[in-house]
């Protein structure tokens, strides 16, 4: 009756939603004894947390007694319906779950189009249509996970910039979580408070399409650019989200749910002081290099003299041999993202190298290499770098 990979481990006694006398069969049916031996089974696959489908079977006697009621999937299909029960309520939308039906030896199997979830309660209903003087019957079975509820386990593991001092025109935060999160309402769970514990109104750029990485463990939170850019209305009307000389705290609610729909273990808070705005382009000529010796695999270290964007500094700075061949190795950012260190996979060889930095690298205020976040077009003295990257040569001996 069942496919080989389906193992019915959970057979739930049929419950009659209506207890009625089925005159046509000449017997009295009640909830605890199934109608002519009919059952509704939830099909659990080995190791699965939720059923793979539902099978209604054993109603054959009934069919035989009253004629070919249950002869083809077409006539079976409308008789078995599966519904989802919304959590915390008994309200069931009268729309059955989408899925496919197939006829088994003496019944019908339903496979949902989208997998059942262990977090939900499902109700299967088998309808016997009115026959003769009998009234229509509903036979129902509910499935609910018997696994114990899980405890929250996800935390905010890091917020970048990691320093407790940021420029007034800070462009973004990265929130890093210990596990995958849920999205769709992230801005409800992130708050910025000033030193008087007043919540700053709408400090962030709220986007319908939230800025997650693929595993949804890192969220990028831009400060509303309308409150950073000079000359635009939100900044002129109500000022910047962050004001130099003041203290703030960024708070993440514990109610924010992870990918398993469990809240965070605890709320998270980052306190910081706001410094003057940084409107200066990144200048690699000011970077201090610590160059390792040939024959070692000691790290090559760059000290930027200011914190850079953690993601971009990891992604957009590389080491090449003079001939252009990239050197493989591991990058680390330390000292509040002011220091970049590169440990090669193989020992350094004597020779000429370059540090190649892509010019779209950003500091905390979104200034690039050779080009500030806001270009003052009246300032004709400065020449902005337009190359894709800059190379900083160095020698290993």
């Amino acid at each position: 009756m069942l496919p080989d990979d389906m193992n019915p481990t959970r057979s739930i006694t049929l419950l009659c939603s209506l207890v009625r006398t089925i005159l046509i069969l000449g017997t009295i049916q009640n909830c605890s004894s199934s109608l002519s031996g009919g059952t509704i089974e939830w099909i659990m696959k080995e190791g699965a947390a939720a059923p793979a489908g539902v099978v209604a079977s054993g109603f054959g006697d009934f069919a035989t007694s009253v004629g070919p009621l249950i002869d083809t999937p077409d006539t079976w299909e409308p008789k078995l319906k599966v519904y989802v029960i919304q959590p915390g309520s008994n309200i069931v939308e009268p729309l059955p779950i989408l899925g496919t039906y197939s006829k088994t030896k003496d019944g019908v199997a339903f496979t949902p189009r989208f997998p059942f979830s262990e977090r939900m309660v499902y109700r299967a209903q088998f309808d016997v249509p009115p026959i003769g003087s009998a009234v229509k019957q509903h036979f129902t079975s509910e499935w609910k996970s018997s696994a114990p509820p899980k405890s929250p386990s996800t935390v905010v593991s890091q917020i970048y910039p990691s320093s407790d001092r940021v420029p007034e025109n800070l462009l973004k935060f990265y929130l890093v979580f210990s596990d995958s999160m849920s999205g769709g309402d992230v801005y409800d769970h992130i708050h910025l408070y000033d030193e008087n514990n007043q919540e700053v109104e709408l400090p962030f750029l709220e986007l319908g399409q939230e800025l997650w990485d693929t595993p949804m463990k890192r969220l990028t939170l831009f400060i509303d650019p309308g409150r950073i850019k000079r000359g635009v209305k939100p900044l002129e009307d109500i000022g910047p989200s962050l004001v130099a000389g003041h203290a703030y705290k960024l708070v993440v609610d514990a109610e924010w749910k992870d990918a398993n729909r469990l809240p965070l273990v605890k709320p998270f808070q980052k306190s910081f002081i706001v410094a003057e705005p940084d409107r200066t382009a990144i200048d690699p000529a000011q970077w201090k290099k610590q160059i390792p010796k040939a024959g070692t695999s000691s790290p090559l270290i760059i000290r930027f003299g200011e914190p850079l964007d953690v993601a971009l500094a990891q992604r957009l700075i590389e080491v090449r041999q003079k001939e252009g061949v990239p050197v493989k190795g591991q990058v680390k950012l330390t000292d509040h993202e002011t220091e970049w260190s590169f440990t090669p996979d193989a020992v350094w060889k004597d020779g000429h190298y370059v540090i190649r930095a892509t010019t779209i690298l950003e500091d905390l205020a979104g200034n690039n290499i050779g080009k500030p976040f806001e270009v003052d077009v009246f300032d004709s003295v400065q020449r902005w770098i337009t190359e894709e990257y800059v190379d900083i040569p160095f020698r290993i001996r």
Binding site: P87, E93, R113, G184, D237, R315, Q330, F342
Partner: protein, 362 residues
Amino acid sequence: MGALFLSHTAHAVNWQEGMKVGNPNIAAAGSIAFGPEGILFIADAKSAAVHAIATGDTTTPHGQASVKIEGINLKLAALLGTSADEILIQDVAVNPASHKVYLSVSRGRGPKAIPVLAKVDHAGNISVLDFNNVSFSSAVLPDAPPDAEVGEGRRQSNPRQESITDIAFLEDRVLVAGLANEEFTSSTLRGIPFPFKTISAGTSVEIYHGAHGRFETRSPVRTFVPFHIGTEPHLLAAYTCTPLVQFPLKSIEPGAKIIGKTIAELGNRNRPLDMIVYEKDGEDYLLMANSSRGIMKISTKNIENFEKIEERVEGGGIKGLPYETIENWTGVDQLDQLDDDHAVLLVRAENGALNLESRPLP
């Protein structure tokens, strides 16, 4: 969002050229827009791609289109076998060939969320598109920003993603506005020729905002809508820093740097969510759903001659093109034009339910 298409080149185009039958393997369904002949474009940020699906839904039924579904999130949850809070409606678009409403839905909120496309017919029935055996073609977003080459493992774990804030079809191009989750600098507007070609991946242009002719910054586009000024196709775009700007479609050329002409400055708390352009009594209007106020109706009558805003804007409110606020249209998350006289709205009711309903265009 902003998913109008206005006109197409006069010569016959085989819009389904290069399509194959199968499953487009959509990783995430975000913004959607319709092109000609019932072709639906789906922004898939997870795959950094745009998919085109020939829905085959090309007949306009008789009678007036009218939609009213209360608690559409609950109904979708019922059909998809999940809880209402696991349903995220990403976008709403009307197929101009059939006047049927399509919803781009995420079933789930985590990394394993399943993309779903639902269709609402004129009787109010909701069906879900089966992605198996559809006619489709896909285009990968052009000009993805570079990666440094420092280690083999790094590239795989690169957490960089680009969010697609809006897409639209205009003339012969799919336009895609995007914002990266790392570099603000690489916010772009891309034009991808359609039918998709394997050789020409399209172009991306740098979008700038020139505040008062002085401070020039890269400016991601939040939402945009195609619009004709005279016979010239243009885009009206809302930047994330709130100015409303316009630029001609022809400026989207390889290597171009576009500075949108500011036609309105929106104040704080003004987050444009969606825009449509429509014609009423021989005049064009822009309708903009907004996070803080009712819908804004902006006459575009004088847009052609409108001087760009270069003066400082004092006080609250907005400056620029004249507008009126449709006060009783509140809580509008999404909107599109249903037919010549109606808009369809996704409205967040006070009890938290999401309702899909049509209303006469104001």
